[in-house]
Amino acid sequence: MPEPTIYELSSDGRTGVLFPEPDVPLAEFPRDLLREDLPFPELAEVDVIRHFTKLSTFNYSIDKGLYPLGSCTMKYNPKINELTARLPGFAGTHPLQPSVTVQGNLALMFNLQEFLKEISGFDAVTLQPAAGAQGEFTGVSIIRAYHHSRNDTKRTRIIIPDSAHGTNPATSSMNDFETVGVKSDARGNVDLDDLRSLCDETTAGLMLTNPNTLGLFDEHVLEVVKIVHEAGGLVYGDGANLNALLGIVRPGDLGFDIMHFNLHKTFSTPHGGGGPGSGPVGVTQALADFLPSPIVAIVEEGTEEEAPLYGLVKPARSIGRVKSFYGQFGMLVRAFTYIRMHGPDGLRKVSEYAVLNANYLMKEVKKSYRLPYDRTCMHEFVVEGVWPELPDIHALDVAKRLMDYDYHPPTNYFPLIVHEALMIEPTETESMQTLDQFAETLARIAEEAHTRPELLHGAPHNAPVGRLDEVKAAKDLVLCCWIPESEDKLL
């Protein structure tokens, strides 16, 4: 049964929460500046709780089961993180309080900056960017600021592999750069000859995801970095897949100049149905002065008895702010908690098990699905959800059929360089038994595709709703609901 909207559940005169009567004399409202009506729904608390609880049951979530959404790193989110982020000493601090009153926050942020530097091999880190995409924006803005600071204004192009996330070219455009695509070779690496032919004095930089979206570590990464550097460009690392590299290799050591972290992927902060994320950025010493303002620094060294005094400082040639205040602080507390619990050995285990799980699953899945790049993978792999003898079956059908078996589908139709892609990322938090069951289910669906294709075409059969009409949604464009009697307002 569909759930009515919050507006349809409204009953005139109800309220979910009451506030105290004013304890001060009433002031006079500016009459000509008041609104006539506030068309909000009216519900009791129980109505609200039941409505949203009902809605929650329509969602798939990590807490419910395996969520093998490639590239999104849907690992288990530890519950302790939720507790620490909500501590009143954190949650009740106002961002503009004098820094002497928030030394706990600043110390945590400073230490997190230090942890991220050590994990990635970069020299300086900002915690300000709100999400991976904003981290990319920050990084590419720094690339532009760096070249401009050297009066090198000819560099107008950013090179991006054809396997890249869509955010990379979009980010490049936001910074007024022209995007130039570089091909992948037969083993899924950046094609070195193509890269060489593209690199020249107009190259501002390369945006490289490594491991890439095929889940493969570029076998020539040092050569790739060298080619770009020799042309005078900078190498931007898309840290979306850093979860495969903790304690395995540091992008800074490989020669990357800039990288963003996705705390919501690598460091287990919850994805929240699409945010909040958190996208800190690390840079080399040469770029540290360009970081967004402010960053956390020690403003007065500590002594044996006294802790140091932390404060907010503006880097000398900062690109400016990318958002208000200092970052998604609550997410920083969660990521900090996660790193503290793991330590260096635990973090390495995280990446080792992520890679172990992906290779284990890949070995099974490739028995019934074509694996176009058959190499040892990192944390994820990409198969084709299509069979040459079954022209009517598509990756989408496989994805939807998985829902009937109570799994969230893998990412589909991405990366674009794989035909009918199914991008599978099990993450390290899944057990061997869970992977076995998932592999069996995928094998059964492959069999169904051949014997009972109608089961795939009509899928999902057991989800809260069937396949939805996306064309109608875009054509009719109903983006808001209203209280039922004001139907005339319906857009």
Binding site: L18, F19, P20, P22, R35, L38, P41, V48, I49, H51, F52, L55, S56, S61, T84, F90, A91, H94, P95, Q103, G104, A130, A131, F137, T167, A170, S173, D176, G247, R250, H264, P270, H271, G272, G273, G275, P276, S278, K323, S324, M341, H342, G343, P344, E352, V355, L356, K400, M403, T429, S431, P464, V465, R467, L477, V478, L479, C480, C481, L491
Partner: protein
């Protein structure tokens, strides 16, 4: 802890893969850089982490213990218990962007309701699924205006009474667009810009006019005339609005705004040292294809049942790549849910009540502070909502440290952003401040002259 692998299982898995050890899986990594020793503190148990994080939190002074009159873009409001009860549910918190609508109807319907509530609150026709915060939502208004005029109008006019951090963020976003000019308009050399001050600067090259409502200094102006003048010149008007104030104030939509953005933190989201917060972005239907970020639309499934999907995705980065309207993908999903639950709970009556409480208490505070020798309240005679400027006899930094000794977090030191506003403090009052709290502040301020 969070990886379930036993030694025996790990070995079995390695055997099946056909390698001897875990390190054999990493031969693609350049050998000289493989397995660096990370200089990080050793891992600890949950119990120890809990204790350590309590220590960090205890090293702060917070609005949880102290009386606070600090606002300036982040506000201390009461958050009903039901809000956290809902957003703590794993079904919401541990789901991702609803790319697979059939198993994401909970998130999708909640966003659809968020869009509806924001549209109603702001008096606009459509809202998107959220932005990172008020500052980035404001910046996206600039980006949208740039694209709307296809780079043919390049001037962005910003009132100096718009939040300084929002103006700075907008400039950071737009400096990537060639030849865009941002102009900050002041008021007779002071930052107390009024809508009338903006009008002479609006011309045929103006893409966007940005004002705040109530403005950064808490003052409220009718924006209808500004909207009309802006439209006469063919430009767009963006209004940065406070959602609590919209419980009672005329909507920007009614006054002719083309875009209404703002910080959704007051709607059930904790202060949390500045994040995660919630940017909202509402506009007219004619601009819907130019909005950045996610949009949820209503549709039906194969059996005609109502359902919701992400729609107009052709604007977005994962489809359009370098031609996308923005690179945004993740938004503030869970924070938008918090605001949706908050708005549903307080409803029509509760939001008006909160709004009224803020208004009355702020006016009481202003009346009392006015009476203290050496202090003046500087509203320029304009109406204000729940924030106002106080000119103090001593530097605000000094004053605030005296207040702190008495357990009071004072107002915002305006000289940080506006050097000419020496000794000017921005005081915010919400429903969380009792009359007693306000009287305590007044007593503490009265002692300054004696000190």
């Amino acid at each position: 802890m969070f990886t379930p692998h036993t030694q025996i299982e790990t070995e079995e898995m390695l055997k099946k893969i056909g390698v001897k050890s875990l390190s054999d899986l990493f031969t693609d990594i350049p050998k000289q850089f493989r397995f660096p020793k990370l200089d990080l503190p050793a891992g600890i148990t949950e119990m120890e982490a809990n204790a350590e994080l309590h220590e960090y939190a205890a090293a702060n002074e917070s609005t949880d213990e102290l009386i606070s009159f600090l606002g300036a873009g982040a506000y201390h409001h009461y958050i009903p218990a039901a809000v956290d009860a809902i957003i703590s549910r794993g079904e919401f918190a541990t789901a991702y962007t609803p790319y697979q609508p059939e198993v994401s109807q909970g998130t999708l319907q909640a966003i659809f309701e968020f869009q509806s509530l924001i549209a109603n609150l702001t008096g606009m026709e459509v809202s998107n699924a959220s932005h990172y915060d008020g500052a980035t939502a404001t910046a996206e208004a600039g980006v949208m205006a740039y694209h709307h005029y296809r780079g043919k109008r390049l001037k962005m006019l910003l009132s100096e009474s718009v939040h300084p951090q929002y103006r700075e963020t907008l400039c950071t976003y737009l400096c990537g667009y060639e030849n865009v000019e941002t102009k900050t308009v002041s008021h007779e050399g002071q930052p107390f810009t009024t809508p009338e001050d903006m009008i002479p600067y609006i011309g045929a090259d103006t893409a966007l006019v940005v004002v705040q409502y109530p403005d950064f200094f808490g003052r409220v102006f009718d924006l209808s005339a500004l909207a009309a003048k802006t439209h006469e010149q063919g430009a767009l008007l963006a209004v940065v609005a406070n959602p609590t104030a919209l419980g009672i104030l005329k909507t920007p939509g009614e006054m002719g705004a083309d875009i209404v953005v703002g910080e959704g933190q007051p709607l059930g989201i904790p202060l949390s040292y500045g994040g995660p917060y919630l940017g909202f972005f509402a506009t007219k239907k004619e601009f819907v294809r130019k909005i950045a970020g996610r949009l949820v639309g209503e549709t039906v499934d194969a059996e005609g049942r109502r359902g919701y999907v992400l729609t107009l995705t052709a604007r977005e980065q994962h489809i359009r790549r370098e031609k996308a309207s923005s690179n945004i993908c993740t938004n503030q999903g869970l924070m938008a849910l918090a605001a949706t639950v908050y708005m549903s709970l307080v409803g029509k009556t509760g939001l008006r009540q909160v709004s009224g409480l803020c208004f009355h208490k702020a006016h009481y505070a202003a009346e009392q502070i006015k009476k203290i020798k050496g202090f003046t309240v500087e509203t320029g005679g304009h109406p204000f909502f729940h924030e106002f400027v106080v000119k103090c006899p001593i530097p605000v930094e000094e004053l605030n440290s005296m207040l702190l000794d008495q357990g009071i977090i004072g107002g915002y030191d305006l000289s940080i952003d506006y050097p000419m506003l020496k000794n000017h403090m921005l005081v915010a009052v919400t429903e969380m401040n009792s009359r007693q709290n306000i009287d305590d502040l007044v007593d503490a301020l009265s002692e300054v002259q004696n000190a």
